[in-house]
Protein backbone atom coordinates (compact mmCIF):
# COMPACT_ATOMS: atom_id res chain seq x y z
CA UNK A 1 0.00 0.00 0.00
CA UNK A 2 2.86 2.36 0.80
CA UNK A 3 3.99 4.34 -2.21
CA UNK A 4 7.64 5.29 -2.72
CA UNK A 5 8.41 8.22 -5.04
CA UNK A 6 11.53 10.12 -4.12
CA UNK A 7 10.90 10.47 -0.42
CA UNK A 8 7.16 10.65 -0.92
CA UNK A 9 5.66 8.10 1.44
CA UNK A 10 1.91 7.84 1.42
CA UNK A 11 0.39 5.23 3.65
CA UNK A 12 -3.34 5.90 3.37
CA UNK A 13 -4.20 2.84 5.42
CA UNK A 14 -2.13 3.79 8.41
CA UNK A 15 -4.95 5.93 9.80
CA UNK A 16 -7.07 2.83 10.24
CA UNK A 17 -4.55 1.14 12.57
CA UNK A 18 -6.02 0.04 15.85
CA UNK A 19 -3.63 0.36 18.76
CA UNK A 20 -4.04 0.27 22.53
CA UNK A 21 -4.95 3.62 23.97
CA UNK A 22 -2.58 3.25 26.93
CA UNK A 23 0.87 1.68 26.63
CA UNK A 24 2.12 -0.76 24.08
CA UNK A 25 0.80 -4.02 25.51
CA UNK A 26 -0.83 -6.74 23.45
CA UNK A 27 -4.33 -6.21 22.22
CA UNK A 28 -6.85 -8.29 24.11
CA UNK A 29 -10.61 -8.28 23.64
CA UNK A 30 -11.10 -5.68 26.36
CA UNK A 31 -8.09 -3.38 25.79
CA UNK A 32 -9.31 0.19 25.30
CA UNK A 33 -8.05 1.28 21.88
CA UNK A 34 -8.20 4.41 19.79
CA UNK A 35 -11.35 2.92 18.28
CA UNK A 36 -12.81 2.47 21.76
CA UNK A 37 -12.11 6.15 22.41
CA UNK A 38 -14.05 7.22 19.32
CA UNK A 39 -16.85 4.77 20.00
CA UNK A 40 -17.05 6.40 23.43
CA UNK A 41 -17.07 9.89 21.93
CA UNK A 42 -19.86 8.77 19.57
CA UNK A 43 -21.86 7.47 22.52
CA UNK A 44 -21.31 10.71 24.46
CA UNK A 45 -22.27 12.91 21.51
CA UNK A 46 -25.46 10.93 20.82
CA UNK A 47 -26.37 10.82 24.51
CA UNK A 48 -25.82 14.56 24.98
CA UNK A 49 -27.80 15.37 21.84
CA UNK A 50 -30.70 13.12 22.78
CA UNK A 51 -30.72 14.00 26.48
CA UNK A 52 -30.32 17.77 26.08
CA UNK A 53 -32.60 17.66 23.06
CA UNK A 54 -35.37 15.89 24.91
CA UNK A 55 -34.95 17.65 28.26
CA UNK A 56 -36.82 20.95 27.64
CA UNK A 57 -40.00 19.20 26.40
CA UNK A 58 -41.19 22.48 24.99
CA UNK A 59 -44.17 22.65 22.70
CA UNK A 60 -42.22 25.12 20.58
CA UNK A 61 -38.80 23.44 20.31
CA UNK A 62 -35.43 25.12 20.57
CA UNK A 63 -32.49 24.23 18.35
CA UNK A 64 -31.23 21.10 20.08
CA UNK A 65 -34.74 19.89 20.69
CA UNK A 66 -35.50 20.41 17.00
CA UNK A 67 -32.55 18.25 15.99
CA UNK A 68 -33.55 15.45 18.36
CA UNK A 69 -37.17 15.62 17.20
CA UNK A 70 -36.12 15.77 13.56
CA UNK A 71 -34.07 12.59 14.00
CA UNK A 72 -36.97 10.93 15.79
CA UNK A 73 -39.61 11.79 13.22
CA UNK A 74 -37.27 11.09 10.30
CA UNK A 75 -36.58 7.52 11.41
CA UNK A 76 -40.15 7.04 12.61
CA UNK A 77 -41.58 8.01 9.23
CA UNK A 78 -39.03 5.83 7.46
CA UNK A 79 -39.96 2.78 9.51
CA UNK A 80 -43.69 3.40 9.10
CA UNK A 81 -43.39 3.98 5.38
CA UNK A 82 -41.06 1.14 4.44
CA UNK A 83 -41.75 -1.55 7.01
CA UNK A 84 -45.37 -0.76 7.64
CA UNK A 85 -47.24 -0.70 10.90
CA UNK A 86 -45.93 -4.12 11.90
CA UNK A 87 -42.36 -2.84 11.91
CA UNK A 88 -43.05 -0.07 14.41
CA UNK A 89 -41.61 -2.10 17.26
CA UNK A 90 -38.22 -2.07 15.54
CA UNK A 91 -38.21 1.72 15.66
CA UNK A 92 -35.84 2.02 18.67
CA UNK A 93 -33.46 -0.46 17.07
CA UNK A 94 -33.35 1.55 13.84
CA UNK A 95 -33.02 4.77 15.79
CA UNK A 96 -29.88 3.35 17.45
CA UNK A 97 -28.53 2.12 14.11
CA UNK A 98 -29.02 5.40 12.30
CA UNK A 99 -27.80 7.72 15.03
CA UNK A 100 -24.76 5.52 15.69
CA UNK A 101 -23.75 5.29 12.03
CA UNK A 102 -24.38 8.91 11.12
CA UNK A 103 -22.63 10.25 14.22
CA UNK A 104 -19.67 7.92 13.82
CA UNK A 105 -19.36 8.82 10.12
CA UNK A 106 -19.51 12.56 10.80
CA UNK A 107 -17.13 12.44 13.79
CA UNK A 108 -14.74 10.45 11.60
CA UNK A 109 -14.48 13.49 9.33
CA UNK A 110 -12.88 15.56 12.07
CA UNK A 111 -9.16 15.92 11.34
CA UNK A 112 -7.14 13.41 13.38
CA UNK A 113 -10.20 11.43 14.39
CA UNK A 114 -11.05 7.81 13.83
CA UNK A 115 -14.18 6.45 12.21
CA UNK A 116 -15.31 3.13 13.75
CA UNK A 117 -17.60 2.64 10.74
CA UNK A 118 -14.54 2.45 8.46
CA UNK A 119 -13.84 -0.98 9.94
CA UNK A 120 -15.48 -4.01 8.43
CA UNK A 121 -15.62 -5.61 11.89
CA UNK A 122 -17.98 -2.87 13.05
CA UNK A 123 -20.15 -2.80 9.95
CA UNK A 124 -20.19 -6.59 9.80
CA UNK A 125 -21.55 -6.79 13.33
CA UNK A 126 -24.20 -4.20 12.49
CA UNK A 127 -25.14 -6.08 9.32
CA UNK A 128 -25.13 -9.50 11.00
CA UNK A 129 -27.39 -8.14 13.72
CA UNK A 130 -29.82 -7.04 11.03
CA UNK A 131 -29.50 -10.37 9.20
CA UNK A 132 -30.10 -12.42 12.33
CA UNK A 133 -33.00 -10.21 13.42
CA UNK A 134 -34.68 -10.50 10.04
CA UNK A 135 -34.17 -14.28 9.87
CA UNK A 136 -35.29 -15.00 13.43
CA UNK A 137 -38.25 -12.61 13.36
CA UNK A 138 -39.25 -13.95 9.96
CA UNK A 139 -39.35 -17.56 11.16
CA UNK A 140 -40.99 -16.55 14.45
CA UNK A 141 -43.73 -14.55 12.72
CA UNK A 142 -44.40 -16.69 9.66
CA UNK A 143 -42.97 -20.06 10.64
CA UNK A 144 -42.03 -22.15 7.65
CA UNK A 145 -44.00 -19.73 5.50
CA UNK A 146 -41.04 -17.38 5.71
CA UNK A 147 -39.37 -19.60 3.13
CA UNK A 148 -42.17 -18.68 0.73
CA UNK A 149 -40.20 -15.50 0.19
CA UNK A 150 -37.78 -17.54 -1.94
CA UNK A 151 -40.54 -19.21 -3.95
CA UNK A 152 -41.50 -16.63 -6.58
CA UNK A 153 -45.09 -17.61 -7.20
CA UNK A 154 -45.57 -15.07 -9.98
CA UNK A 155 -42.89 -16.74 -12.16
CA UNK A 156 -43.49 -19.76 -14.43
CA UNK A 157 -43.23 -23.04 -12.55
CA UNK A 158 -40.10 -24.16 -14.43
CA UNK A 159 -38.20 -21.06 -13.42
CA UNK A 160 -39.16 -21.16 -9.76
CA UNK A 161 -36.44 -23.53 -8.50
CA UNK A 162 -33.77 -21.50 -10.29
CA UNK A 163 -35.18 -18.24 -8.94
CA UNK A 164 -35.38 -19.79 -5.48
CA UNK A 165 -31.67 -20.59 -5.66
CA UNK A 166 -30.86 -17.05 -6.80
CA UNK A 167 -33.07 -15.57 -4.09
CA UNK A 168 -31.44 -17.75 -1.48
CA UNK A 169 -27.95 -16.72 -2.53
CA UNK A 170 -28.92 -13.06 -2.61
CA UNK A 171 -30.42 -13.42 0.84
CA UNK A 172 -27.17 -14.70 2.30
CA UNK A 173 -25.11 -12.12 0.42
CA UNK A 174 -27.16 -9.35 2.00
CA UNK A 175 -25.11 -8.97 5.21
CA UNK A 176 -21.91 -8.92 3.15
CA UNK A 177 -23.06 -6.18 0.77
CA UNK A 178 -24.80 -4.39 3.63
CA UNK A 179 -21.59 -4.16 5.68
CA UNK A 180 -19.06 -3.63 2.90
CA UNK A 181 -21.15 -0.86 1.32
CA UNK A 182 -20.89 1.22 4.49
CA UNK A 183 -17.37 0.27 5.58
CA UNK A 184 -15.95 0.53 2.08
CA UNK A 185 -17.45 3.95 1.44
CA UNK A 186 -16.13 5.45 4.65
CA UNK A 187 -12.71 3.80 4.31
CA UNK A 188 -12.29 4.84 0.67
CA UNK A 189 -13.16 8.46 1.39
CA UNK A 190 -10.68 8.68 4.23
CA UNK A 191 -7.97 6.95 2.20
CA UNK A 192 -8.45 9.29 -0.76
CA UNK A 193 -8.18 12.34 1.48
CA UNK A 194 -5.02 10.89 2.98
CA UNK A 195 -3.49 10.31 -0.46
CA UNK A 196 -4.15 13.90 -1.49
CA UNK A 197 -2.79 15.13 1.82
CA UNK A 198 0.39 13.14 1.13
CA UNK A 199 0.76 14.90 -2.22
CA UNK A 200 0.17 18.27 -0.60
CA UNK A 201 3.05 17.66 1.79
CA UNK A 202 5.74 17.55 -0.94
CA UNK A 203 4.44 19.75 -3.75
CA UNK A 204 5.45 23.14 -2.38
CA UNK A 205 3.43 26.01 -3.79
CA UNK A 206 1.61 23.69 -6.18
CA UNK A 207 0.06 21.92 -3.22
CA UNK A 208 -2.83 24.36 -3.64
CA UNK A 209 -4.22 21.86 -6.14
CA UNK A 210 -4.38 18.81 -3.83
CA UNK A 211 -5.61 21.02 -0.97
CA UNK A 212 -8.45 22.27 -3.15
CA UNK A 213 -9.15 18.67 -4.08
CA UNK A 214 -9.23 17.71 -0.40
CA UNK A 215 -11.74 20.49 0.27
CA UNK A 216 -13.94 19.24 -2.56
CA UNK A 217 -13.68 15.61 -1.47
CA UNK A 218 -14.38 16.61 2.10
CA UNK A 219 -17.68 18.10 0.98
CA UNK A 220 -18.45 14.91 -0.89
CA UNK A 221 -17.53 12.84 2.15
CA UNK A 222 -19.96 14.82 4.30
CA UNK A 223 -22.66 13.82 1.86
CA UNK A 224 -21.43 10.21 1.79
CA UNK A 225 -21.38 10.05 5.60
CA UNK A 226 -25.07 10.95 5.81
CA UNK A 227 -26.21 9.11 2.69
CA UNK A 228 -24.52 5.85 3.72
CA UNK A 229 -26.11 6.01 7.17
CA UNK A 230 -29.46 6.59 5.46
CA UNK A 231 -28.87 3.75 3.00
CA UNK A 232 -27.89 1.33 5.76
CA UNK A 233 -31.00 2.21 7.76
CA UNK A 234 -33.47 2.11 4.89
CA UNK A 235 -32.06 -1.23 3.68
CA UNK A 236 -32.56 -2.54 7.19
CA UNK A 237 -36.18 -1.40 6.95
CA UNK A 238 -36.56 -3.11 3.58
CA UNK A 239 -35.13 -6.37 4.95
CA UNK A 240 -37.36 -6.15 8.01
CA UNK A 241 -40.38 -5.86 5.76
CA UNK A 242 -39.56 -9.33 4.43
CA UNK A 243 -39.80 -10.63 7.96
CA UNK A 244 -42.92 -8.82 9.22
CA UNK A 245 -44.75 -7.43 6.22
CA UNK A 246 -46.77 -9.12 3.54
CA UNK A 247 -44.79 -10.80 0.78
CA UNK A 248 -43.87 -8.40 -1.99
CA UNK A 249 -42.61 -10.94 -4.52
Amino acid sequence: MAEEAGGLVIDPMHQFQIHPLFGEGPLTWYTPTNQTLWLGITVVVISLLMLIGSAPRKVIPGRTQSIAELLYTFIHDMVEEVTGHEGAKFFPYLMVLFTFIVTSNLLGLLPGSFAPTSHIAVTAVLAMMVFLTVTLVGFYKKGIGFLGMFWVSSAPLVLRPILALIELISYFVRPLSHSIRLGGNIMAGHAVIKVFAGFAGVMGIASVVPIAAIAAIYGLELLVAIVQAYVFTILTCVYLRDAVGEAHH
Partner: protein, 178 residues
Protein backbone atom coordinates in the same frame (compact mmCIF):
# COMPACT_ATOMS: atom_id res chain seq x y z
CA UNK B 1 -7.94 -15.70 26.47
CA UNK B 2 -4.41 -16.88 26.01
CA UNK B 3 -5.02 -17.74 22.38
CA UNK B 4 -6.49 -14.33 21.71
CA UNK B 5 -3.47 -12.64 23.16
CA UNK B 6 -0.97 -14.70 21.25
CA UNK B 7 -2.87 -14.19 18.02
CA UNK B 8 -3.02 -10.47 18.73
CA UNK B 9 0.68 -10.39 19.44
CA UNK B 10 1.52 -12.26 16.28
CA UNK B 11 -0.77 -10.08 14.23
CA UNK B 12 0.66 -6.95 15.80
CA UNK B 13 3.76 -7.10 13.63
CA UNK B 14 1.85 -8.13 10.55
CA UNK B 15 -0.61 -5.28 10.96
CA UNK B 16 1.88 -2.79 9.55
CA UNK B 17 1.25 -4.32 6.13
CA UNK B 18 -2.11 -4.86 4.49
CA UNK B 19 -5.43 -3.42 5.48
CA UNK B 20 -5.95 -2.92 9.21
CA UNK B 21 -9.57 -3.79 8.54
CA UNK B 22 -8.54 -7.35 7.65
CA UNK B 23 -6.38 -7.81 10.73
CA UNK B 24 -8.73 -10.26 12.35
CA UNK B 25 -6.76 -10.21 15.60
CA UNK B 26 -8.40 -6.89 16.43
CA UNK B 27 -11.92 -8.11 15.69
CA UNK B 28 -12.88 -9.46 19.13
CA UNK B 29 -11.83 -6.16 20.66
CA UNK B 30 -13.76 -4.15 18.08
CA UNK B 31 -16.88 -6.29 18.41
CA UNK B 32 -16.82 -6.11 22.20
CA UNK B 33 -16.54 -2.34 22.40
CA UNK B 34 -19.02 -1.85 19.58
CA UNK B 35 -21.61 -3.93 21.46
CA UNK B 36 -20.93 -1.93 24.63
CA UNK B 37 -21.44 1.31 22.74
CA UNK B 38 -24.62 0.08 21.07
CA UNK B 39 -26.09 -1.13 24.34
CA UNK B 40 -25.43 2.22 26.01
CA UNK B 41 -27.00 4.12 23.11
CA UNK B 42 -29.95 1.72 23.13
CA UNK B 43 -30.53 2.29 26.85
CA UNK B 44 -30.25 6.07 26.52
CA UNK B 45 -32.66 6.02 23.57
CA UNK B 46 -35.33 3.69 24.90
CA UNK B 47 -35.23 4.58 28.58
CA UNK B 48 -34.94 8.36 28.42
CA UNK B 49 -34.80 10.14 25.08
CA UNK B 50 -37.46 8.44 22.98
CA UNK B 51 -40.27 8.38 25.58
CA UNK B 52 -39.66 12.07 26.25
CA UNK B 53 -39.70 13.01 22.58
CA UNK B 54 -42.76 10.86 21.98
CA UNK B 55 -44.53 12.64 24.85
CA UNK B 56 -43.58 16.08 23.52
CA UNK B 57 -44.72 15.20 20.00
CA UNK B 58 -48.00 13.81 21.33
CA UNK B 59 -48.53 16.90 23.43
CA UNK B 60 -47.82 19.15 20.46
CA UNK B 61 -50.18 17.17 18.28
CA UNK B 62 -52.87 17.43 20.93
CA UNK B 63 -52.29 21.14 21.36
CA UNK B 64 -52.41 21.82 17.64
CA UNK B 65 -55.56 19.73 17.40
CA UNK B 66 -57.10 21.63 20.31
CA UNK B 67 -56.14 24.97 18.83
CA UNK B 68 -57.60 23.99 15.49
CA UNK B 69 -60.82 22.89 17.17
CA UNK B 70 -60.97 26.18 19.11
CA UNK B 71 -60.38 28.11 15.89
CA UNK B 72 -63.15 26.14 14.22
CA UNK B 73 -65.49 26.92 17.09
CA UNK B 74 -64.64 30.63 17.01
CA UNK B 75 -65.19 30.61 13.28
CA UNK B 76 -68.62 29.07 13.65
CA UNK B 77 -69.40 31.59 16.39
CA UNK B 78 -68.37 34.45 14.12
CA UNK B 79 -70.56 32.99 11.40
CA UNK B 80 -73.52 32.79 13.77
CA UNK B 81 -72.93 36.40 14.87
CA UNK B 82 -72.81 37.51 11.26
CA UNK B 83 -76.02 35.64 10.56
CA UNK B 84 -77.72 37.27 13.56
CA UNK B 85 -76.48 40.68 12.44
CA UNK B 86 -77.78 40.12 8.93
CA UNK B 87 -81.10 38.97 10.32
CA UNK B 88 -81.37 42.09 12.51
CA UNK B 89 -80.47 44.24 9.53
CA UNK B 90 -83.15 42.56 7.45
CA UNK B 91 -85.74 43.04 10.18
CA UNK B 92 -84.80 46.69 10.60
CA UNK B 93 -85.15 47.19 6.88
CA UNK B 94 -88.56 45.55 6.84
CA UNK B 95 -89.63 47.68 9.82
CA UNK B 96 -88.42 50.81 8.10
CA UNK B 97 -90.29 49.87 4.93
CA UNK B 98 -93.46 49.31 6.94
CA UNK B 99 -93.08 52.66 8.70
CA UNK B 100 -92.53 54.36 5.37
CA UNK B 101 -95.70 52.80 3.96
CA UNK B 102 -97.72 53.73 7.06
CA UNK B 103 -96.43 57.29 7.04
CA UNK B 104 -97.15 57.63 3.37
CA UNK B 105 -100.72 56.39 3.93
CA UNK B 106 -101.22 58.81 6.79
CA UNK B 107 -99.90 61.73 4.78
CA UNK B 108 -102.13 60.69 1.91
CA UNK B 109 -105.11 60.60 4.25
CA UNK B 110 -104.35 64.06 5.60
CA UNK B 111 -103.78 65.30 2.10
CA UNK B 112 -107.07 63.83 0.92
CA UNK B 113 -108.91 65.38 3.82
CA UNK B 114 -107.33 68.75 3.16
CA UNK B 115 -108.15 68.45 -0.54
CA UNK B 116 -111.75 67.54 0.20
CA UNK B 117 -112.00 70.47 2.60
CA UNK B 118 -110.52 72.82 0.06
CA UNK B 119 -112.83 71.46 -2.65
CA UNK B 120 -115.83 71.99 -0.43
CA UNK B 121 -114.79 75.54 0.36
CA UNK B 122 -114.15 76.22 -3.29
CA UNK B 123 -117.55 74.82 -4.19
CA UNK B 124 -119.22 76.94 -1.55
CA UNK B 125 -117.44 80.05 -2.71
CA UNK B 126 -118.25 79.26 -6.33
CA UNK B 127 -121.93 78.74 -5.51
CA UNK B 128 -122.07 82.02 -3.65
CA UNK B 129 -120.34 83.82 -6.43
CA UNK B 130 -122.71 82.28 -8.96
CA UNK B 131 -125.64 83.37 -6.91
CA UNK B 132 -124.34 86.87 -6.74
CA UNK B 133 -123.58 86.86 -10.45
CA UNK B 134 -127.14 85.65 -11.08
CA UNK B 135 -128.52 88.38 -8.89
CA UNK B 136 -126.42 90.96 -10.65
CA UNK B 137 -127.47 89.58 -14.00
CA UNK B 138 -131.14 89.54 -13.00
CA UNK B 139 -130.79 93.11 -11.75
CA UNK B 140 -129.14 94.11 -14.99
CA UNK B 141 -131.85 92.46 -17.14
CA UNK B 142 -134.57 94.17 -15.18
CA UNK B 143 -132.85 97.52 -15.51
CA UNK B 144 -132.37 96.98 -19.25
CA UNK B 145 -136.05 96.06 -19.63
CA UNK B 146 -137.07 99.14 -17.73
CA UNK B 147 -134.82 101.37 -19.73
CA UNK B 148 -136.03 99.73 -22.93
CA UNK B 149 -139.67 100.19 -21.97
CA UNK B 150 -139.08 103.80 -21.03
CA UNK B 151 -137.10 104.47 -24.15
CA UNK B 152 -139.66 102.69 -26.30
CA UNK B 153 -142.52 104.61 -24.64
CA UNK B 154 -140.65 107.90 -25.12
CA UNK B 155 -139.89 107.02 -28.77
CA UNK B 156 -143.51 106.07 -29.46
CA UNK B 157 -144.73 109.31 -27.88
CA UNK B 158 -142.12 111.31 -29.71
CA UNK B 159 -143.14 109.73 -33.01
CA UNK B 160 -146.67 110.80 -32.34
CA UNK B 161 -148.23 107.62 -31.23
CA UNK B 162 -149.95 106.70 -28.15
CA UNK B 163 -147.89 104.77 -25.74
CA UNK B 164 -149.58 101.50 -24.85
CA UNK B 165 -147.75 100.34 -21.81
CA UNK B 166 -148.85 96.73 -22.09
CA UNK B 167 -147.97 96.47 -25.78
CA UNK B 168 -144.59 98.07 -25.23
CA UNK B 169 -143.86 95.78 -22.33
CA UNK B 170 -144.77 92.72 -24.41
CA UNK B 171 -142.70 93.89 -27.35
CA UNK B 172 -139.67 94.56 -25.14
CA UNK B 173 -140.05 91.20 -23.46
CA UNK B 174 -140.17 89.47 -26.90
CA UNK B 175 -137.10 91.45 -28.03
CA UNK B 176 -135.18 90.69 -24.86
CA UNK B 177 -135.84 87.03 -25.17
CA UNK B 178 -134.73 86.90 -28.79
Amino acid sequence: MLTTETVAGAAGEASQKGMPQLNFATWPNQVFWLLVALVIIYIVMTKIAMPRIAAVLAERKGKIGGDLAAAEELKSKAKAAEKAYNLALEQARAEAAKIIVATKAEIQKDLNAAMADADAQILAKAAESEKRIAEIRAGAVQAVAEVARDTAGALVTALGGTADDAAIAAAVAVRLKG
